[in-house]
């Protein structure tokens, strides 16, 4: 046995896990399956929160419902696990109620883009000062692997047993068209780029959106003959980083090539700035 496993982490001799102070360690291990990408994206979010230098006491995480929606339950910050699809409007109220707060929405593709799709486009249109991180695992994991608004055409899920007849959303294109001021996409394998992106998004004002592709080996992978490690290898072999790519080229199709990178980074007055300027009487 290696010396590395003794003495115990957190003892006087061994420093704790670098994120120990930001997780509710009494709730770990979390509910996510072996190989699930949510934990990695969640850890990247916490790392970015720490390294960004923002006041963590003024930082909140809001989640909706689903596997990714459980993220709020593991972060040792003010955290809100809301109703299905409604993380963004809840976060909107939180931010408007106290503009000093840094509000990070962490949720899944089903939550943010099917049941909550309307809220996403409107928050982006208003340029609400939120950082929205979407863990896209291509299906509804919590309920056992049903087709989502992001499931690739012809992919098998429990509700598309002969393959998905529909086309998926191109999420960065949707975010771009709705007016988001920061848009990026990474996979959980591209952890460093992802962390940098999240850090940038948190410190930037306005509506930021980061799509994170992560495997759902149990519910999506199993039905589409993809083991967790194989999915990560696809992320390595079938992706290309192309910053500022044309948003209409950003379809997720791993039979071809998937473009990652930072696609939008622009400035626009935020919802609160516009409200103060337009609606409040001059002092």
């Amino acid at each position: 046995m290696q010396a590395a496993t003794t003495p115990r982490a957190g003892s006087a001799l061994v420093p704790e896990h670098p994120l120990e102070d930001l997780i509710r360690s009494d709730r770990i291990p979390h509910i996510w399956c072996p190989g699930c990408g949510i934990g990695t994206a969640f850890a990247a979010t916490l790392t970015a929160m720490k390294s960004s230098g923002i006041d963590l006491h003024k930082t909140c995480m809001v989640s909706g419902i689903g596997c990714s929606g459980r993220a709020a339950g593991y972060v040792k910050l003010d955290s809100f696990h809301t109703t299905h699809g409604r993380a963004i409007p809840f976060a909107t109220g939180l931010k408007l109620g106290n503009p000093e707060l840094n509000v990070v929405v962490f949720s899944g593709d089903g939550d943010l883009f099917a049941i909550g799709g309307n809220h996403f486009i409107h928050a982006a249109r208003r340029n609400m000062d939120l950082t929205v991180i979407c863990l896209n695992n291509l299906n509804y994991g919590m309920t056992g692997g049903q087709v989502a608004a992001t499931t690739p055409h012809l992919a098998r899920t429990t509700t598309t047993p002969s393959g998905n007849p529909d086309a998926p959303f191109n999420l960065p294109l949707l975010a771009w068209a709705s007016g988001a001021t920061y848009v990026a996409r990474w996979t959980v394998l591209h952890t460093r780029e992802l962390t940098e992106s999240i850090q940038k998004a948190i410190t930037k004002s306005g509506f930021s959106f980061i799509e994170v592709l992560g495997p759902c080996p149990i519910n999506y992978g199993r039905r589409n003959r993809e083991k967790a490690l194989q999915t990560l290898k696809l992320y390595r072999e079938r992706t290309i980083i192309r910053n500022h790519a044309d948003p209409s080229d950003l379809d997720v199709d791993f039979t071809k090539q998937v473009i990652l990178g930072e696609f939008v980074d622009k400035e626009r007055p935020t919802c609160i700035e516009n409200y103060d300027k337009t609606c409040r009487l001059p002092e």
Partner: protein, 92 residues
Amino acid sequence: MEFWRVPLDAQAIEISRGEVHVIEDRCKGCGYCIEFCPRGILAFSARFNKKGYHPPEVLQPKSCVNCHYCEIICPEFAIYSVDLSSLQPPGL
């Protein structure tokens, strides 16, 4: 390794060294740290943890360059590396 020309700052360059720590009972055995360790120093151990998974173990502790990749790819907060120089007093 022999250099055809020795870089001028070869004496000044230090390769960082790390020490890997595993919180075994958090591990769910996905194998990401093992697969993606750039130095290939990790492997599944024969042991079972509390949940019945085989946590990783460090095969070549001296080869760790403290890149933290195992730490950031791990979905479970179960593995991390620390800078060895920060653990030991100088001269040890």
